[in-house]
Symmetry: C2
Subunit: 137 residues, 2 copies
């Protein structure tokens, strides 16, 4: 499936996007699958993954680093901030300051309890800005 191929109209893809648009959740592929399986009993999880990927490619949805996916480790245990490279997945420290008030606002706005005031942002790392480098980590 090339990054910008000709698309046909697909009812599943349409419904997947509708589902995403119609919820405040930030669902996983699995959740989308469970919902839509009611409508389309034959639905395949592969189809959900494929279409989510396409929707992101087309800019109609975004994928979020979150959930339980934590596959990087750091021996610096003081709260500090990170940037992740969207291309190669590298994680680097971001030595910037964020005020305590900011996290208070976050707590107020979300109802979450932020015990570890640490921010992540993503972007393109210096290496990947020159597309030279392959994709190792």
């Amino acid at each position: 499936m090339s990054p910008s191929a000709n698309r046909k109209h697909s009812i599943r893809r349409e419904r997947i996007l509708e589902l995403l648009s119609g919820t405040k959740r930030h669902p996983t592929a699995e959740w989308v699958y469970e919902q839509l399986k009611r409508e389309y009993p034959g639905l395949s999880l592969g189809t959900v993954y494929r279409n989510l990927r396409i929707l992101v490619e087309e800019g109609l949805a975004q994928s979020i680093r979150g959930g339980k996916a934590t596959d990087h480790f750091d021996a610096d245990i003081a709260p500090h901030h990170h940037v992740t490279c969207d291309r190669c997945g590298k994680v680097s420290d971001a030595p910037v300051k964020v005020t305590e008030e900011f996290f208070k606002k976050m707590e107020k706005a979300t109802g979450y309890r932020i015990s570890f005031p640490q921010i992540s942002v993503s972007g393109l790392c210096p290496d990947c800005q020159n597309q030279k480098s392959p994709l190792p980590e």
Copy 2:
């Protein structure tokens, strides 16, 4: 392995922590394994995972949501901020404002190019603050 068991001295665990402490990278388990396999040819990847987990449990390292792990989706494609629940993995919107200057500072401090000014933070969601709820999503 209970959350706070009695630990013995383990040379592998010690070396894993040293490796983490001695690098500015934020390595994956795989990377740690590759490095240490030179020293301990018989080393098992399972041992690396086990010890990373223990180090995090003991507060000697932290695990970072980053890398290529993106398993949640959102049809709201305008940059906005998120909180992730450390316990159940739920992701929610965080309607707070972050200045453009902040991201400029981030870019300056890291060399990354932040094309999508969006922040993630993690904490405990309201449901999980009352430990009642099980661990569904």
